[in-house]
């Protein structure tokens, strides 16, 4: 088990997201920025900055005794708990709220400012429903769609420039826990009932395909798509398992199960610079980096774990910085900590 560096922030950090480099190229940015969202007593968004490990010298190990991991730049109150944050562009982010709202924030002069928000999720009795996750359509367009899923069983599509043109479709009778865009025209969602549902953006009300692992009764907490192979998806389950899906054959999808955690997997991602690895965080207070592409059989797949001694509670969110040569991961936990792992090594391998 490798140790994460810990910085107490006295906030329950429930979402975190790296921002693109300001100058456009990571190697010219000596500082990197990320945004955290918190919940419970302190519902706010906080903009942080940290040193770019590509510019560090010497041992390149930050000592938490004499230096903070990150410095607070600015913060702004958020309407509701922050359940997810997604980067829209270099200075625009979108957030998902416990009040069912999707909000757009501008980052101006190192401060966060609310531009607009819309209520995307409600129950039939009018009560707001939690927006559990959101994902931005991977297109180079200012009018990209934001897909948001919620506890009302709906997926909402919100054009970035016209939030009032929101369209919501009920897709499941249970909670939709995660959403992602395998392609610009395809949306994949994970459900509490243990299903993956695929939708075509052009026919959002109709389910294109449904996948379920019949060998086990899972409840999915999150979903992620491979950065280049749209047929590969990863889901995190309530049992602590990470499932890797190959959905090329819709009638018989191939599933590989990695039992990497001991409790609910809150977030899963393919590593942005090495997609042969899946990164996941869990309620068991650890982050796992699983090497899923290997010559070895499944039972002996390499898994590296990260945790912090002074972080005993759930790690609910993380993000791997895709803009640096060195490995840089930031996470947030219910212990009120920001956790970080950085390595100045230029070797992409994490093992």
């Amino acid at each position: 088990m490798n140790t994460l560096q810990v910085q107490p922030v006295a906030r329950k950090v429930t979402s975190v997201c790296w921002l693109p480099p300001r100058a456009g190229q990571a190697y010219t940015d000596t500082e990197l920025f990320f945004v955290t969202g918190s919940s419970a007593r302190h519902k706010e968004l906080v903009l942080w900055t940290t040193d770019n490990p590509d510019f560090e010298s010497g041992s390149n190990k930050l000592s938490t005794e004499d230096k903070s991991l990150a410095k607070l730049v600015s913060k702004v109150t958020h309407d509701g708990d922050v359940h997810d944050i997604a980067v829209v562009s270099i200075d625009v982010i979108a957030t998902a709220s416990s009040y069912g709202t999707i909000s757009i924030y501008d980052i101006q002069s190192d401060s966060l400012k609310l531009r607009e928000s819309v209520t995307a999720h409600r129950f039939t009795n009018g009560e707001p429903a939690v927006s559990t996750a959101l994902s931005v359509q991977p297109v180079n367009s200012s009018d990209a769609d934001i897909a948001s899923c919620g506890e009302d069983g709906k997926i909402a599509y919100v054009p970035l420039t016209r939030l009032d043109a929101l369209q919501a479709y009920e897709v499941d009778s249970t909670v939709v826990t995660g959403v992602c865009w395998p392609t610009p025209s395809q949306v994949a969602a994970s459900t509490r009932a243990g299903q993956i549902k695929i939708f075509d953006r052009r026919s959002p009300a109709e389910v294109s395909a449904v996948f379920v692992d019949t060998s086990n009764s899972y409840s999915f907490e999150c979903i992620a798509s491979h950065p280049s192979q749209s047929f590969r998806l990863a889901t995190g389950a309530d049992t602590g398992a990470v499932l890797l899906w190959d959905i090329r054959n819709p009638k018989k999808p191939a599933t590989e199960v990695f039992g990497v955690h001991e409790s609910n997997v809150w977030k899963v991602r393919f590593h942005p610079t090495d997609s042969s690895k899946i990164v996941s965080c869990s309620d068991d207070a650890s982050i796992a980096i699983t090497q899923w592409v290997s010559d070895k059989p499944t039972a002996t797949k390499d898994v590296r774990y990260l945790s912090g001694f002074f972080n005993a509670l759930s790690i609910g969110c993380f993000d791997v910085c895709p803009f640096t040569r060195a490995s840089l991961l930031v996470a947030g936990s219910d212990s009120g900590n920001i956790l970080m792992e950085r390595s100045a090594s230029t070797d992409f391998s994490l093992f």
Binding site: N125, F309, F310, A312
Partner: protein, 662 residues
């Protein structure tokens, strides 16, 4: 003669809190008049947080009043009153020490049992967390009264914790010197530092006027009292050549510096006899120096007086120590260092008693009394005083004492188990903070007692479940600690909530976990009623989700089979539809109230151009209809006799066709 029962410590937790609402809910001094206008106060206590909501309420409904009563702004104001809980500034400390606490319970539950060095390591982590918190508080941009109070509290907590550590852990480590003295002096100088290093730097930077510096000799005396012999020697050597000092004072300053440097220090490699011999020789040097300096007195030389005092203290003169010491800690430290340098921990009570009896009780703070109780091994009183310093301290101290196996010595003095009591009290404090519900539940769960588990279950059932993810976390905690009743209640609560929100699939999923077949049946009945009312079968996605999870229930099976019939019928696959419909009736999958509807559904199949039902199958349908008519139990739905008549006629015609076809 009856034995007098020893009084037990009853930890009293009843504290009266009085608060005045601003603005008030009724005019001051006019409460009677206010009450006569149909007004009273109502309140509600939050199930978890230490909050109470107070508002004005009417004694009777407005409609029942003979005349209209005017409504004021105060009537529509709700006051939320709360007891101050955990401040946000403590959150990092709470989370850090929670991690240490959890690790400590884990290592102590495993084999082989952790020894003193492991416990010492854990204890050090607690102290590091306290020191870290002090640093963070001191670095705050604004020093308020609150922050100053917090710093003082954490200093007190650290002093208490450190003293217990050296008495029960450090001094019991194998392989080190067993004398308590060096550890006690380390404790004293770390927690009650004197003299301050910055004072020393300031004084010694006086340059040529050093000998005339009014603070110099008080500083030197303090160095001697606290056993800073190296600094003392260096200081005296710097002072000796300066101008303004008499020749005698200069000489004795140099000599005493040399004596101070020669002070024997014990080590684990040296025998007690050898050390004692060295100590006696050193003490003789001090006696000779004292006699020589005394022979030069009386004089008005402040320096010589101070040097005599230094020597007097260092040779262990109790009166000199008592005169120089500003606090009982000073006196006790000096007595240990210079009179009993090889004292063991068991000498502390008698020495401390002798020192403290010189002080009046009113001169002692709560911290002082706690430290003295610890030195005297009065552990019950020590714990009670720890609680007065801070509830965190009492809870973790009781836990550590339990692991060190010293809590058992004083358990009998309490009416309840002190470890359990203080941990539960701490959890009650934490549960009042929205960020700390899980920490609170962990403390209750890790306390390991049945009573704490009961409290934990009650709290777990009342944690606000603002989101599905949080509900999953609460359920996970309940599973970890085996709180089956709480899991059951939470799932039912979530199921009812989803039901009210119209999320029927999610509701069924929750009820299925607790095998609440009745609620699942009622939801299925609701789905059926919705279908009958709208005519459109829309419950497919609802049951698909729960069936995919492997749930089996007779009502769900009925709805699933009926949906198969419906889709076959819509696709004009009439034979298949008829077969499915018949199987539902024959296998008695359908609930009693739906049988009539199914028989009515059979009418178009009976009357259609295609012969769907054979003679035998038609007889089966007729048998079901007859059973429905003769059913002794009320079905709860009225049977439309007109439709049943049409059904009977259709059966007759179908029989005729089937005979002809044969």
């Amino acid at each position: 003669m009856p034995r007098k029962r020893a009084a037990k410590f009853v930890i009293c937790r009843d504290t009266e809190a009085v608060t005045h609402l601003e603005p008030g809910l009724f005019p001051a001094g006019r409460q009677s008049e206010w009450s006569e206008q149909n007004r009273t106060l109502t309140f509600s206590i939050h199930p978890l947080w230490n909050q109470i909501a107070i508002a004005v309420a009417g004694k009777q409904p407005t409609e029942a009043l003979p005349k209209r009563v005017p409504v004021y702004e105060q009537d529509q104001t709700v006051h939320i009153c709360g007891v101050p809980g955990v401040p946000d500034s403590r959150l990092p400390f709470v989370n850090d020490t929670h991690a240490v606490f959890a690790s400590l319970q884990e290592v102590m539950s495993k084999e082989p049992v952790v020894g003193m060095d492991g416990l010492l390591q854990m204890s050090s982590m607690y102290r590091e967390a306290m020191l870290r918190q002090i640093r963070v508080l001191q670095e705050a941009s604004e020093t308020t009264e609150f922050i100053a109070g917090e710093v003082e509290t954490f200093h007190a907590m650290h002093a208490v914790w450190h003293l217990l550590e050296i008495i029960y852990l450090t001094s019991n480590l194998p392989g080190l010197s067993t004398s308590i003295v060096p550890h006690f002096m380390e404790w004293l100088n770390f927690n009650f530092p004197a003299p301050l290093a910055e004072d020393g730097e300031r004084i010694l930077d006086s340059g040529g006027g050093l000998a005339l510096n009014g603070e110099l000799w008080a500083y030197v005396r303090k160095l001697a009292l606290r056993g800073h012999v190296s600094v003392l020697a260096n200081t005296l050597e710097r002072v000796a050549p300066v101008k303004g000092l008499s020749a005698h004072a200069a000489r004795w300053a140099r000599d005493i510096a040399g004596i101070a440097r020669d002070m024997p220090l014990g080590s684990s490699e040296e025998t007690a006899g050898s050390f004692n011999a060295r100590w006696r020789r050193w003490n003789e040097e001090l006696q000779n120096a004292a006699a020589a300096i005394a022979s030069l007195q009386p004089s008005e030389d402040e320096a010589l007086e101070a040097l005599y005092a230094v020597v007097d203290v260092m040779r262990g003169n109790a009166d000199a120590v008592a005169e120089e010491g500003k606090s009982w800690q000073d006196v006790l430290g000096a007595m240990l260092l210079y009179s009993e340098p090889t004292a063991l921990a068991d000498r502390l009570p008698s020495l401390a008693g002798a020192v403290v009896e010189q002080y009046h009780i009113t001169e002692l703070s709560e911290l002082d009394r706690g430290l003295i109780a610890l030195l005297n091994h009065e552990l019950p009183e020590f714990l009670v005083l720890c609680n007065r310093i801070d509830p965190w301290l009492a809870a973790h101290m009781a836990d550590l004492m339990d692991h060190i196996s010293i809590l058992d010595m004083c358990r009998g003095a309490f009416a309840v188990d002190p470890r359990e009591h203080y941990l539960v009290a701490l959890s009650e404090l934490y549960i009042g903070h929205e960020n700390l519900w899980r920490v609170a539940l962990d403390y209750l769960g890790l306390s390991g007692t049945r009573a704490a588990r009961c409290v934990m279950a009650e709290y777990a059932m009342r944690v606000p479940l603002e989101s599905d993810a949080k509900a999953q976390q609460v359920l996970r905690v309940c599973e970890k600690y085996g709180l089956k009743s709480a899991i059951d209640r939470i799932h039912r609560q979530l199921g009812r909530r989803q039901w009210q929100r119209g999320r029927l699939g999610a509701a069924i999923a929750h009820f299925a976990v607790v095998s609440d077949r009745r609620s699942i049946g009622l939801i299925c009945d609701q789905l059926w009623d919705q279908y009958l009312a709208s005519g459109a079968l829309e419950y497919g996605p609802v049951i698909d989700g729960v069936m995919a999870a492997g749930l089996r229930h007779e009502r769900l099976r009925f709805l699933t089979r009926y949906r198969d019939f419906y889709e076959s019928y819509r696709a004009r696959m009439l034979a298949e539809a008829g077969a499915i419909l018949l199987s539902i009736l024959v296998e008695e999958i359908a609930p009693p109230y739906a049988v009539a509807d199914l028989l009515v559904d059979a009418i178009p199949l009976l009357e259609g151009d295609e012969l769907v039902f054979s003679a035998d199958q038609t007889f089966e349908l007729m048998r079901c209809a007859e059973a429905l008519r003769q059913s002794p139990f009320p079905t709860g739905r009225s049977v439309d006799e007109g439709e049943m008549s049409i059904f009977s006629v259709a059966c007759g015609r179908n029989l005729a066709r089937s005979f002809v076809t044969i």
